[in-house]
Symmetry: C2
Subunit: 174 residues, 2 copies
């Protein structure tokens, strides 16, 4: 069994938007989906569905739903996270928080297998519905593009481009 230590996977995950022309093993893809399914959610409501796309023509179309999703076109697979429509802003934020946890679970499960991920938002809901066929009471919220990195393989990053630890972390009080 492949796979790495958790701490290595956490440090190796990075946004990958250029992929090898190589499919993802179906068992690996199912494991990534399973990681998402296992995520916790507010009152365990699991307000999500996952549509997994691997067809090239479909991926090329899917890449058009958001200007920041062009990399979806060349991904080996993209998982679309669908959620109930939410008019109430508090409910919308609660769903988004849960989907953020799903996203990170999936991305770390992917990194563990050496598979790169690049998540993106969805803009054009009509186009997304046309491509995916979900009912009107659901919306396509986020996409997670997956593929073996075309560039350097995943390996722990020493110095990620982030605010310094001591600026982000406060001890006891702000």
């Amino acid at each position: 069994m492949r796979g790495m230590e958790t701490w290595d996977a956490i440090r190796a995950r990075r946004n990958v938007r250029e992929y090898q022309d190589r499919p993802i093993d179906p068992h690996d893809l199912d494991r990534i989906l399973e990681a998402g399914r296992r995520s916790p959610s507010s009152s365990n409501r699991q307000r999500w569905d996952f549509v997994v796309c691997t067809d090239r023509e479909q991926l090329v179309e899917l890449a058009k739903v958001w200007h920041g999703a062009r990399h979806v076109a060349s991904s080996a697979a993209t998982i679309v996270l669908l959620a109930p429509q939410a008019d109430d802003p508090r409910m919308a934020a609660s769903i988004a928080y849960d989907l953020g946890q799903v996203t990170m679970s999936m991305m770390l499960a992917a990194a563990d297998l050496g598979i790169g991920s690049g998540h993106a938002s969805v803009g054009d809901q009509d186009l997304a519905r046309q491509i995916l066929g979900h009912p009107q009471d659901r919306r396509a919220a986020y996409m997670i593009a997956l593929g073996h990195p075309a560039g350097r393989p995943l390996a722990p990053l020493r110095a990620p481009d982030r605010r310094p630890f001591d600026q982000v972390v406060h001890r006891g009080r702000w």
Copy 2:
């Protein structure tokens, strides 16, 4: 070095709300914080600050900010995720999505070390501000309580209480 395989950590993470009366090693706590710091975010904006609380009296007070946060009182440490105030619902959802990713990174980094986690929302913003001292332009968004599980140790769950895989996952189209 302790730690487990990523796939084991993903399957071992569960909500833990009862903790041993035992502190978390400061290096472990820093690793959990570092996992959150490394999370990706929309345009890498990192709209977050982490306040880590380990003082018992403070934890007891902090547990009062939300009816679903009583377990914070007996946690060994609780990390509060602070974010900018967001009046725009779309920005609020975007911040929540990013904080969801931070949360899962921290929870998996904790699980990897055998440390349980139980996240919670924040209701009473005035009380949270009184306890934590953050400025008016920030709000306490979520809390992640941490501690060594009082009950059974963390180990991969065979059958988590979730919707069936085939109900959640759609292939190609809804």
